[in-house]
Amino acid sequence: MAYIEIRDLYKIFGPRPKEARRMLDGGASKNEIMAKTRHAVALQDVNLSVEEGETFVVMGLSGSGKSTMIRCINRLIEATQGEILLEGRDILKYNREELRELRQNHMSMVFQRFALFPHRTVRENAAYGLEIRGVDKSERFAEAERWLNIVGLTDWADSYPRQLSGGMQQRVGIARALCTDPEILLMDEPFSALDPLIRREMQDELVELQSRLNKTIIFITHDLDEALRLGDRIAILKDGMVQQVGTPEEILTSPINDYVADFTQDVNRVRVLTAQTIMIKPRPLQIDRGGPRVALKFMEEQGMASVFVVDRHRRLLGMLTMEEAIQAVQEDRREIEPLLNHEIDKTTPETYLEDLLPIAAQRRWPIAVLDEEERLIGAIPRVAVLGALAGTPDPHGHMDDTMVEEVVDALQQAAN
């Protein structure tokens, strides 16, 4: 069982949700229910599981029910039906005391519009959770200061929130949430109100912070780029229903339906896809197993103008191009070794496409993907890089040469 399990969660706003629920089961749409009974179906049959220590992003447009969902978890909004199991215990069945204990000790929230207390100093804001818990002043202030230091606001402890910029205010929001040392962090579009540069900075800091803290983070956003950057896994929500759950790469490379596909279309793939997503399985020539003729045959079979040459341990030795191979055959030379081209572009499986683009744009030859022991594990023909860029992650995707040339031209112009 996962750390947090959300099962069959429904939220229907209105005075008689049960009635609306029956209509829903009868196959009525949200709009019909709204028109007939004035009930709003916010969440419908939501099932999710969140693992301990992961950053789980719930992504959806406005009205998708994402804010309602996160509020159901700490019960700022009471769900209509369903279970939210935390380590197997249903939060929705907690009594008032248990709920308070949960909120005070185990689960904190960061808000979109910061929601700081304007009449309290930054220090008092950060210490609020501990104050509620009854921790005495010196102790809670010390802890608050520790967190303010971590988010870089030591010098602002005595200021009031209105004296701070948006980004700084949200740092206070994060310090306030972390100050109670909760295991779970609920973040409701925490960076949406910030301007893009600050947002990027905050995302990076969150990633860095999370690498040290290992909290379980449930993060809401409407920004797919943000979801892909932060999420270990992403759930895509539409009209209160989960469309797809998966790693960023899964969402990008195998969208489950048109809705998700449309979403991912505009995404800046180069920052998400890695070399291993788009590489093809190479068929290298083992150096002691053949000469130029065999090499030519390999190239013919793969439809490529070159072949990688490896040693017996699959370690990359070099590349043999078609021109060299043909010349060698004509001159009746058997040795491959002296023909090898050593100026190969190499990369690791984890390298982002972003970094491969300039290479793909400038070189004719495939890029070799090597593991830590320098063994060849993949090859990336430039068609694959450009194809992924154009939305066809399939490296064997259909992209004729003129298209490739067009993209290459465009890239080179961009590079200049």
Partner: protein, 290 residues
């Protein structure tokens, strides 16, 4: 019966509402006087204590204290303004000082009880919509019905003089503080309240750590209104022999003594200016820190 007869009968018809109310008031007076005594009792104690104190303290100490308060909260301009106003009150007509102190005692008592009663009601109405729906029309009625209308039953039920006069003042001055407390609490942003809840605040912690502090500027604005209404009603209460400077105005008007009426009126005006400036400074001070 001809048509004229019907009209005569109809126009002559007199619903016995007045009689019923009179009977009810009489009955209450006879059988429930302990209730009214119980209401009067705390006001009586507070009012007399405060009045005795204000009359006992030498006038110059009171002036120094009020000026110091004005200076501290509102700056030297208001301090100087208060000093001039209070000295004018003292020397306009020396016998007015004690009357002014009696009126001040009534006003402060009315304000104190308005706060004690009004703020909790305002908070309750803010937290509970049902209470709000009940309280709202009552406040509307309190503000619409002219005090002359309820002065009579008050005299019957509570008798004349200071304490019933103060009670009428409380009725007159209570609505703004209830309304503005209600408004102030309701105005606290939903997200701020949510944030407090998300940290596991109890209802009480929420109220005292978040809602009331954030509503304080609005509540203080209500207090300022209540104070000024108290002053105006404190003068009208002279009609039921509540005493104070209002009594002097009433007497002068009755004698068509323009000079004394003007002086007494000026005293009320000056007192209003001083109280308004000081209480406003308190409200603004709250607005700054919140």
């Amino acid at each position: 019966m001809d048509e004229g007869g019907i009209i005569t009968w109809f126009t002559g018809f007199d619903l016995p509402v007045g009689e019923v109310i009179e009977a009810a008031v009489d009955w209450l007076n006879l059988n429930a006087s302990f209730v009214f005594e119980a209401i009067k009792f705390p006001i009586d104690i507070f009012l007399n204590g405060l009045e005795d104190f204000l009359l006992w303290v030498p006038w110059w100490i009171i002036i120094i204290a009020l000026v110091a308060l004005a200076w501290w909260r509102a700056g030297w301009r208001v301090g100087v303004l208060s000093a001039i106003s209070l000295l004018l009150i003292r020397f306009l007509e020396p016998e007015y000082w004690d009357l002014t102190m009696i009126t001040l005692g009534m006003i402060l008592t009315a304000v104190a009880f308005s706060v004690i009663v009004g703020i909790p009601i305002g908070i309750w109405a803010a937290l509970d919509d049902t209470v709000d729906r009940i309280v709202r029309p009552v406040l509307d009625a309190m503000q619409t019905i002219h005090p002359f209308v309820y002065l009579v039953p008050i005299v019957i039920l509570f008798g004349p003089r200071k304490v019933p006069g103060t009670l009428a003042t409380i009725i007159f001055a209570l609505p703004p503080i209830v309304r503005l407390t209600n408004l102030g609490i309701r105005q606290v942003p939903e997200e701020t309240v949510e944030a407090a809840r998300s940290f596991g605040s109890t209802q009480q912690q929420m109220l005292f750590k978040v809602q009331i502090p954030l509503a304080l500027p609005t509540i203080m604005a209500g207090l300022n209104q209540t104070l000024l209404l108290s002053l105006s009603m404190g003068v009208i209460a002279a009609l039921i022999a509540a005493g104070g400077i209002g009594q002097e105005i009433l007497r002068s008007v009755g004698r068509v003594d323009v000079a004394r009426a003007a002086e007494a009126g000026l005293v009320v005006l000056l007192l209003a200016v001083v109280l308004d400036r000081i209480s406003q400074a308190f409200a603004e001070g709250e607005a700054e820190t919140a």
